[in-house]
Amino acid sequence: MLTFEDFQPGRFGTFGPRHVSREEILAFAAEFDPQPMHLDEEAAKRSMLKGLSGSGWHLGSLMMRMLFDGFIGRTASLGSPGISELRWLAPLRPGDDLTLDVDIPEARVSRSRPETGIVTFKGTIRNAAGQILCEMVSPIIVKRRMDAEEGV
């Protein structure tokens, strides 16, 4: 299990690629974001995004899955209090292959819960052409290793 001590400021890693199919985009949009620009080719062509695009919440949820598969799944994570900022910079398209860069702007011990640390992650999702689709900054609460070492 990765603990707070494993997360130092700087570049943490690059994860993916994750292929996103048209069927996945349509299924997510039908359940959570049934706007015409996410469901209907003709309406999507007339929209600002000029073609069928995935829901931004789908892209965010895919980033969560890529974070999980990349390292959260083997991290002593206690959850996250929120997201400071998320920017959707370009549309998610059917057939995109996503890669995720993870940087750590800051990592500090929690004042209120000193057995944990707060690691701030910056996630950047790009498509195969290298275009940035989404950027997110979010703190995650991670256990410190001292618990195990001190036999608490």
Binding site: F32, W57, G60, M64, S84
Partner: protein, 160 residues
Amino acid sequence: MRFFEDIEVGSRRELGSFTFTAELIKKFAAQFDPQRFHLDEEAGRNSLFGGLAASGWHVGSVCMKLLVEDGKREAEEQAARGEEVATLGPSPGFRDLRWIKPVLAGDVISFASEIASRRSSESRPEWGILEARHTGTNQRGELVFSVLAIAFVPRRNRVA
């Protein structure tokens, strides 16, 4: 939905409520956020959440779902009054999203949205930019979710 010019800062809409059943929580988590406290009751009870907890991405996605459903209701009301209906544009993002309290299996969350600010788009004169504070409140009246969302909204006098 309404056009940019017709939307007042401070105006609020109740978006409706959603029951986060254990089945729905696990289904979303299995696909997008398979951390143990989102998949297993026992692991949830032993976590900071104190029970099987919905992924924060699930809570945000349900808020989006209710926003879209409310937009359809508003469009029907407008059409019934003979008004022209605007179509919501895409969102460039959001800020200050807070998962304030866990959403546990069986919780009923009521969502609402209040317009926080509006301004013209410098780069796209046919669009305005709205900021709205969306919130989620559980059946005990506790605020559990809050986000300041940004969206493009068409202006009434846009050039086709």
